[in-house]
């Protein structure tokens, strides 16, 4: 249960519009990095393997392979340093958490692409609204 007073406290800090993406999507996370006085945007590209939390505590985890090493990074959805999340490829998944990808190697670690045909769009109204 969410406390109404906690929601009141969080409200001014929440983003009015959060980027739309789902678990399994391949995304570019644009994050603001401040180095001294300079500011720049860094891109983190990978697969969304989990979304968790509520309110200010909403987080998502992005996994990618750097070299041959798996790298996971967790982002706070409402952080102002997460400028945008751009969906590069939709994933077809049947699970909310894709932790099994950690134990896959090679081609098996790919998430199948979700291809939306026009007929399917009408069958799934929430996806139609997203795209």
């Amino acid at each position: 249960m969410r406390q109404p007073l906690i929601e009141l406290v969080e409200k001014p800090f929440l983003k009015s519009k959060t980027p739309e993406f789902h678990v399994g999507d391949t995304v570019d996370v644009l994050c603001r990095i401040v180095e001294g006085e300079k500011e720049r945007i860094q891109n983190f590209n990978g697969t969304v393997i989990a979304r968790r939390g509520a309110g200010m505590n909403k987080h998502f985890t992005v996994r990618r392979i750097v070299g041959s090493e798996g790298v996971e990074r967790m982002f706070m959805l409402h952080s102002p340093n997460v400028v945008d999340v751009k969906v590069r490829r939709r994933g077809k998944v049947r699970r909310a958490k894709l932790y099994y990808l950690r134990y896959r190697i090679g081609k098996a670690r790919k998430v199948r692409e979700l291809r939306i045909h026009h007929k399917k769009v009408s069958a799934k109204p929430e996806l139609a609204a997203a795209s």
Binding site: Q3, L5, I6, L8, V9, E10, F13, R32, V34, G55, M56, N57, M76, H78, S79, P80, N81
Partner: protein
Amino acid sequence: MIPALIGTKIGMTQILGERGRAIPVTVVQAGPCVVLQVRTKETDGYDAVQIAFGDVKPHRSTRPMIGHAAKAGTGPKRTVREIRLNEAAKLAAGDVLTVEQFDGGSVAYVDVTGTTKGAGFAGVMKRHGFGGKEASHGVERKHRSAGSIGGDAPGATGRGVKKGKRMAGQMGHVRCTATNLSLVSVDRDSDVMLIRGSVPGPSGSVVVVQQAKKKGGC
């Protein structure tokens, strides 16, 4: 008078600070509190104010409590606490205290007193962080025990088990004060205070918030 209030711990969340840094905060809904009685050196031997928080239906209260509250011109209250002062209070019974006294940047740090979460009857490993015993090497049925608690004390050579020896027992559900917590913000409209970090007790429990005794000076 030391700024002090009785309140309810609502729970924890995070807010954003400079450069988008997350600050962990506890939401405390404090006050308004009514002064029920002012204790003075002349009448009671010490200076203090008795403040009360939260209404309660008269039929759930007691007649002495209803009468006591009526002297201050209010109905019976759920929680009554006394705040000790160093000098005579400039308040009278019936005065209402709100989060206003913490507002305006005059108070930077607070002490929060509450009752910690109870953990029941706990063994020494959980309660005092003892190491326990080995899993193997001949240890039988004593993997989480404390070991020796003291030697034999024949005659008058001394005490066998020293007083205060840490043993298993009730853990938690004791009064506890978290000191020098920084006060992040105060909202007068909703009587909400945001206090950095954690505060003793479960969400929904009663806490007393006071200006920090050690930091900030008073």
